[in-house]
């Protein structure tokens, strides 16, 4: 995973709460056996109408969304299914961060493990972003700050381990693998007590 310490980018505003993973990547895109190419299915049923035509009014389809790497969305982003495909699809479509006032538990973990920064800000900071759709932001992952379009700076928290994973590109896998002996001892202990 590529380390990610800072992002400077325009934002795309998706002004909806409780965006579920079935919208982020509909189930019919889950039939593959690799993690590639899922960007094509990102928000598929919101991006296109039933005849398959692009909906011009959908924020991700507007010309100014081109190249934006930060998505701004409403509360409880990523609720629903555990499909990591949601994080893969966002990454594949070029997103490096999602800013919201809250994230669903499973999605947040999936995001971090794929170099997608879950930026949880307070309502005031969120309002500053929704009032300025498309505005550029500067996200400092190491410091946990976002520079807002109104000139203010918002803080966001990441647990120290998530921050380390994002900024070093080293994941939990390495951490777990470095504890295999301790895991074996736990197994022996558990076997002797049950």
């Amino acid at each position: 995973m590529k380390p990610i310490t800072g992002i400077v980018s325009a934002t795309v505003l998706l002004d909806a709460d409780d965006v579920d993973t079935d919208q982020i990547i509909p189930a019919r895109f889950l039939s593959g056996t690799t993690r590639d190419g899922l960007g094509a299915g990102l928000f598929a049923d919101w991006r296109r109408d039933r005849e398959g035509r692009l909906r011009e009014d959908f924020p991700l389809n507007r010309p100014e969304a081109e190249g934006a790497r930060v998505l701004v969305a409403g509360r409880n982003f990523g609720c629903g299914s555990s499909r990591e495909h949601a994080a893969w699809a966002l990454r594949d479509a070029g997103f490096e961060a999602v800013i919201s006032t809250s994230f669903a538990d499973i999605f947040r973990g999936n995001a971090v493990r794929n170099g997608l920064v879950p930026v949880e800000v307070d309502a005031a900071a969120h309002a500053a972003l929704t009032a300025n759709p498309g505005a550029r932001v500067t996200i400092d992952v190491t410091e946990g700050t976002v520079e807002l379009p109104d000139g203010g700076t918002a803080r966001f928290t990441l647990d120290p381990f998530a921050r380390r994973c994002l900024t070093t590109g080293l994941g939990p896998f390495e951490f777990l693998l470095s504890h295999l002996e301790t895991i074996a001892r736990h197994e022996e202990r558990a076997a002797s007590t049950s």
Binding site: R75, A87, S102
Partner: protein
């Protein structure tokens, strides 16, 4: 002097016995996984990761696989009617991965096959005090037995395959007391929909919900599974119920359950896991199930629901207005009476034998409405076989419903069983998100008896007049 150990919750006990490395300043705890369940959709990329790194599966003896999400529920000329090559490849990849890594597989056509959250308990793998994970958010179902069970992403599936462990920040505990006596025609599905309506879809975020109280105790195991299943729809990764005699009786005699003296010893151990009366939760809430009516959803998330005879509430947010618009429904009128195109009786929420019995009880001796397509999909091969044994498949068929082979089917609409754009379904599944049951499809979530009533009436209908041989 002896000091009494401090009161603890079931969750505290499971957590403590599964910590391999405690939480540190800069890392979450390492937690041991007792049972790892895998399926075809969220595992192929995990196996690819193992292959890339040349890693073995650490405990194939603690890993079980089934094919459920993309499998067809129909056969043509004796062969499974896959929707496309991708679905066939996905199931083939699971078979190959299980063979290469030595993992037992309950594959398509096998007697142990079924929806992953139906077969875990059925085999007796789901036992009190265990940690159970699966690359699937409805893993919360297994919490009904007092197991800490939760859904994980595919990267985590790879981690568990390789190390049998996961990194976990300790979740908070949320004690939800559910009291009151259920009215006739009201089931666990109605309770959990009413709970989610009352407390919202983010209520359980960061928490494990332990359901307790008189109404919970009175539920059978399958109803308890329905309750815990939809914890994720309340925002919690896991739901729990302290084990009791109902739990132990259900487990006894199952394939993977301990036998004889070992079973008695296990029961003693399991009993001691239950939350102490004076234990405290990080948060608490209380809910009266006595006033719950049969529930139906009118919107596009599971909190947007109301009683079957109650008018749909006036939307009070842009999201609710959009949901009502998507559903093509009008506020301030009851949902009952809305024409229905499809009825789906299935899924890990409501496709166990008791669910099928309840639905069959409504349709027995009657005909489904000619304008409604009714699909009944048993949760597992074992449920299918038991239903056949009881003649339930015949009851459904004679009523004009379509009886299928086990799988997730129209709950997730990956296998070809799906709604056409604009169609409205009454479904016993768990998610009414836009397009969940097929692009442009509209889902009304309900209990098995409410779904069965809709099948007969051709419209959303109150199930109560149909119960116990009544004539509506």
């Amino acid at each position: 002097m002896t000091t009494r150990p401090s009161p603890r919750t079931l969750f505290d006990r499971i957590w403590e016995s599964h910590v391999v490395v405690p939480e540190g300043d800069d890392h979450p705890a390492i937690i041991y996984v007792d049972v790892h369940l895998i399926h075809e959709v969220t595992s192929p990329q995990a196996f690819a990761l193992l292959r890339e790194r040349g890693l073995p599966v650490r405990r194939p003896d603690q890993t079980w696989a089934t094919a459920d999400h993309s499998v067809p529920t129909r056969f043509e000329k004796g062969r499974p009617a896959f929707i496309d090559q991708a679905a066939r490849n996905q199931v083939a990849a699971l078979e190959r991965n299980c063979r290469d890594f030595g993992i037992p597989l309950f594959g398509l056509g096998a007697s142990g096959q079924g929806i992953v959250h139906v077969i875990g308990p059925e085999r007796g793998l789901t036992q009190p005090g265990r940690t159970i994970v699966c690359g699937d958010s409805h893993t919360s179902t297994h919490g009904a037995f007092g197991a800490w069970a939760f859904g994980i992403g595919t990267s985590e599936v790879a981690q568990v395959l390789a190390t049998q462990c996961l990194l976990q920040a300790r979740p908070r505990t949320l004690g939800l007391e559910i009291r009151g006596d259920l009215a006739p025609g009201v089931s666990a599905k109605d309770i959990i929909l009413a709970v989610i309506r009352r407390f919202g879809v983010a209520f359980g975020r960061g928490s494990v919900i332990e359901y307790h109280g008189s109404a919970v105790r009175s539920l059978g195991m399958e109803a308890r599974m329905t309750l815990c299943n939809m914890s994720i729809e309340a925002g919690a990764r896991a739901g729990l119920i302290s084990p009791d005699d109902t739990t132990f009786d259900w487990i006894e005699g199952r394939e993977e359950a301990p036998r004889g003296k070992a079973f008695d010893e296990s029961v003693a151990r399991w009993r001691a896991l239950a939350t102490d009366d004076d234990a405290t939760f990080d948060r608490t809430a209380s809910f009266d199930a006595g006033t719950v009516e049969p529930m139906v959803t009118w919107g596009t998330n599971p909190s947007m629901s109301c009683g079957i005879l109650e008018p749909i509430p006036t939307p009070c947010s842009p999201g609710e207005r959009a949901a009502l618009g998507y559903m093509g429904l009008e506020a301030e009128r009851p949902l009952a009476g809305t024409p229905v195109d499809v009825v789906f009786i299935g899924s890990c929420t409501n496709a166990r034998i008791s669910d099928l019995r309840a639905a069959a009880g409504v349709v027995r001796g009657r005909r489904v409405h000619p304008d409604v397509q009714v699909l009944v999909v048993p949760g597992s091969a074992a449920v299918r076989d038991q239903a056949r044994h009881e003649g339930l498949d015949r009851t459904f068929r004679e009523a004009g419903a379509v009886w299928r082979e086990p799988g997730c089917s129209m709950c997730i609409a990956m296998n070809g069983d799906r709604l056409q754009p604009g169609q409205l379904a009454v479904s016993t599944s768990n998610r009414n998100f836009e397009g969940r049951q097929g692009p442009g499809g509209r889902t009304v979530l309900a209990s098995p008896v409410t779904a069965a009533a809709a099948a007969l009436a051709g419209q959303v209908a109150d199930p109560r007049p149909y119960l116990e041989g009544g004539t509506p």
